[in-house]
Symmetry: C2
Subunit: 328 residues, 2 copies
């Protein structure tokens, strides 16, 4: 039982045409008479022939592959992102070469495979890479887009929410409600998402002469849960908590619930992301919606239509606040 691969030559033979003609039938816009086209398609169908994407890629330098590297994450937000990328790229005729990483900073070695397969672009979500890795990739003329991360020293495109203004709006909301004892539970502190959310939030309130209590979390439920619990046990029962993402907010929420602190009456809570879980009846978490679809669209657009690698753009998209039951 041989590895039986059907090639254009096989089809050509059976259809009494040349291999070139078969190729043209499968090349949009190429010149083939209607009669021959039908004949070839018929034979192709019969032999179950499909053009070999590898050979095609070799000639065209068009592999139709995009590399997607995603960091080890608990956050369901990124699962939605992954699904969205997969669907959208497929619609545009691209395939996804997927790599899952545990490193906050993607290593050269993890990217090399992308280069070997001549991917037409690389998307990196929830992680960074060093600038010399970026340089190497750009040497090969391959565009990169960071999703939901950016860094001034990393010269490549990025797409994210406008975290600063989003968290300012959240701060403003708390302020308007009359809250003065306000807590921010951070995400991983060295991430750009957290930095910006923290910055916008704190700055706004500083202008109002309010000092925010910072609890240093790491974007996980557990950490946030224990931080909140300990805070309460220490006698601190704030009026409002902003969690750096929904998981964080939910952890806080569960801690509050356990301590029988009523939400939103005694303490209001707001998250960030609008993951599915946020709308579960038992949580009904007020949160900030990241416009995933727009972000993904923009990331793909940036990746595939950037004429110039040298002028990296940092796109920030605006989301919106969703009021549910954890705010008044």
């Amino acid at each position: 039982m041989e590895k039986k691969f059907v090639s254009a030559k096989d089809v050509a033979k059976l259809a009494n045409v040349s291999q070139s003609t078969v190729s043209r039938v499968f090349t949009p816009g190429a010149s083939v008479s209607e009669k021959v086209r039908r004949k070839v398609l018929e034979v192709a169908e019969e032999l179950n022939y499909r053009p070999n994407a590898l050979a095609r890629g070799l000639i065209n330098k068009k592999t139709n592959i995009v590399g997607l590297a995603m960091k080890d994450i608990q956050n369901p937000f990124y699962h939605e992102v992954l699904g969205m990328f997969s669907m959208k790229l497929r619609e545009k005729g691209y395939n996804v070469l997927f790599v899952y990483t545990k490193n906050e900073e993607i290593q050269q070695e993890e990217i090399n495979h992308f280069l070997e397969y001549n991917v037409e672009g690389i998307i990196i979500t929830d992680a960074l890479l060093s600038s010399n890795v970026v340089a190497k990739i750009h040497d090969n003329n391959i565009p990169i887009t960071l999703f939901n991360r950016y860094h001034k020293d990393i010269p490549c495109n990025s797409v994210s929410s406008d975290n600063i203004n989003a968290s300012k709006e959240i701060a403003s909301y708390f302020y308007e409600q009359g809250y003065r004892d306000i807590v921010y539970i951070t995400g991983k502190i060295n991430t750009s998402t957290n930095k910006d959310r923290q910055k916008g939030f704190i700055e706004y309130l500083k202008e109002k002469k309010i000092e925010v209590t910072i609890l240093e979390g790491n974007y996980t439920y557990e950490k946030s849960y224990y931080l909140t619990k300990k805070m309460i046990e220490n006698g601190h029962r704030p009026e409002a908590i902003f969690g750096a993402n929904d998981i964080t907010a939910i952890g806080a929420l569960d801690a509050l619930r356990e301590k029988n602190i009523s939400v939103p009456e005694e303490t209001a809570v707001i998250g960030f992301d609008n993951i599915k879980m946020a709308s579960w009846p038992s949580y009904m978490l007020s949160t900030w919606v990241q416009p995933i679809e727009k972000m993904v669209d923009e990331a793909i657009h940036l990746l595939l239509n950037n004429d110039r690698v040298n002028s990296p753009k940092a796109v920030k998209l605006k989301g919106k606040f969703i009021h549910r039951n954890t705010t008044k």
Copy 2:
């Protein structure tokens, strides 16, 4: 600014050797003198050369690509699975071509891309495909492994938990505890995972002359939450609930909590999967652990070492019960 692709020929020229020699340097086990190898590697490094995987695949018929199709899922269980597959395949030198689907039954069109890229195997998680699609794939001599699904009419390998015996053990646990008013909240009813869990559970209890109450869910939190709530409002407060997966069980748990029914005193709850969330302090859900790592290992082994496509194996692996706070 041209697309500057560095080929073996470029390296050859600069290193004063033939292209063949360069190739041999990058082909494990090929014969090259130590002196030449060093020289070539040095030049390769300098030019940032890496062998083109597409051209390699063309010749070798070894693309080192595995196709992975995953169904639209909320279930965090599958995120862990995805991560595991990605890591394990990478360790073995394979790359993952990823497709996200919304169809319960994978369509030919979604698989075609895999075939075009000459993937060496296809893994399908949480979904099925029709037997004629399987036939077409096997025509190309490409192995398939279903993960956590199987069907008697689909002639391909599969790996899953031993769902029947697992749920029998859960039933037995409930029985030993003296529970007689027992509820099973189903997953999507036409899935093999649900069918087997339901079957094992019901059969065991039927032998004990116990009639299980069936609530028809669909593996989502919302559905389970509303079913449970309605049941309670109808005056039915069972002694024990088995949710077809953790998300289902958590939905039930939240409904019980809202109705102020104490868990596990008044009602015990068990889930299935052992997702991260099950160990969150606010849930501490007793559940059945699926041995993800073993399952993934086995799936990969089955996929890549199956000498005969014609004798599909259905591997079922045993998990174990984890006792937390939702059972006595």
